[in-house]
Amino acid sequence: MSYKEKGYIEPEELENLGLLPPRERLEKGPVVIAECPEEIPCNICVHVCPFKAIKMDKIYEIPRIDWGKCIGCGVCVPQCPGQALFVVDLSKPSQALITLPYEFLPRPEKGMRVILLNRRGEHVGEGVIVKAWQHDRTWAVTVSVPKDKWLEVRAVWIPEK
């Protein structure tokens, strides 16, 4: 079954579409992954990246990241209407950092413990928010997660107090 039947994409599908950065790049520092595999008429990311790291000729092509140009700043993360952009940083020894979009209550704050969710909405562990900022009320939340979960975690849930 493809992502169009399930509503989530498998890492192998991302790999086959050439959407995953090479391991060496990931280990060097933060870089964006665009989980936007379908040709839809959208080019917001191309315009918002201050480093011109996202390429697209026709408005409906899938975004291609220049992994050399992307510095993983996360500016694009809360601006993507599809919430399909995630910054991953594997440069730290023990934990991976993931920056992902979040539009729910309660509001995220540095230091909060959160539930980590995979692409199917399953709980896959707990993480800690290391940074949170917002753009037009969409949060970009950076969470530290167990290092082996970098390709799994794609959402967080903050339990109500």
Partner: protein, 491 residues
Amino acid sequence: MPDYRIYEHPILDFRRGRRVKFYYRDKVIEAYEGESILAALYAVGYRVFNRSPKLGLPRGAYCMIGKCSSCLSIVDGVPNTRICIEPVREGIHVEPQEGLADIRMARKQENVETVKVETDLLVVGGGPAGLKAALVAAEHGADVVLVNDHYVLGGQLVKQTHKFFGSRDYFGGTRGFRIAEILSKKIKEYNNIHVYTNGFAYGYFKDGVVGVAVHGEHPLNLLVKAKTIIAALGAAEKGLDFEGNYLPGVMGAGGAQTLMNQYGVRPGDRAVVVGSGNVGLIIAYQLLQAGVKVEALAEILPRIGGWFVHAAKIRRLGVKILTRHSIVRAAGLERVEKAVLQAYDEHFRPIPGTEKELDVDLVLISIGLQPDTKFFAQAGAVMKWVPEAGGLVPIRTWGQETSVENLFVAGDASGIEEATTAFIEGEIAALSALLKLGLGSKEVEERRGKLIDFLWNEYRMAPVVRRAREGKLKVTVSEEEMKKIRVGEYP
């Protein structure tokens, strides 16, 4: 009294207006200025607003945009009032209608004043297509009258909280309700745009005259004689046939979206969404933001209909998307208390023994939209049934003109797409009208050519929208072909 109003929301601030009191069946209801009567009643727990004429079955809120007649009520003695698009006012008396109204009750409307106005361009409908059309025409010096049956301008944009896709030139990246605010504000800056909200265009008459019933405190029968008309009436959500589909709680997904995002009223506690097009997927996400649990989203086809990114957003929050599933039954006494889903085989036959009972109070239907084209049909425009466009739509030229000369169509009324194409079609229609009015320069002609090229040869070439493109191709003809159609030679 229960309180379904939302006070904290991750995206929206509900800045409620002044408090007003009105009467519902002699009960005093407290509401906020700006709410529709139905939203105010829903907020305090009412769910049944009318009864069917024959069987007396309960009727709840369904479309919330004045298209379905589920909410017809008597407001200050005026029957057949759609309370979903009628604003609350201090001291009004509202009664449920319980079936058909007695025409003798309508006496209040007998001495409504008739006002005649003339204009270069009449725009019917203040959604993205209509607002853009009015602005473009006014910028070029045309005198414009804009009528909108809802009391708020913006059409469906006012309830769209997601950031727009599409081109940055057409508000890509901005949330829909903000776009509505920006455009409505701009409209007010032009003193050559005359706006009548709460004004329903009821008919097209000889010599380009359109009748508009303006409701509210000062009702008017407005007769607009227009040299050109752009009708951008939008669409209505399609209904679905299943046992118990009449029960309050079965609602258009857009109806629930209107309640929660426009009025800040939580439509229920637990929902099932039927249909996985973009509207269903987006609304499932927005339900979660409003604190409604989404038990499942059912799709009868083997594939998700809408865009993958929208599906991924709800899937990663744990919403189940059940492909090859649909609803077979809603049950409850006077409102939905349960829904039963069932699996379907490849021939769309239900598979026995696969029923799943869900404990829900909302069944939200999002199986597609249907263009609102009554106005064109009544005006005598040549129409065609095009499934890819959502149903019956008027045939039009590349410049959006229908077979009724000087009557243009734009937006969802021309065939279902989305807001970005509604903006573009609205602009094309306005540029065509300007050329007809003799207000168009070479620059207008060039701009129109460029837009038509971008729309057809780039934007609509995206694989996910190509079906809509095919549909619209079937009803778009050249000026020469249109001339033939006008004299009765159909291709």
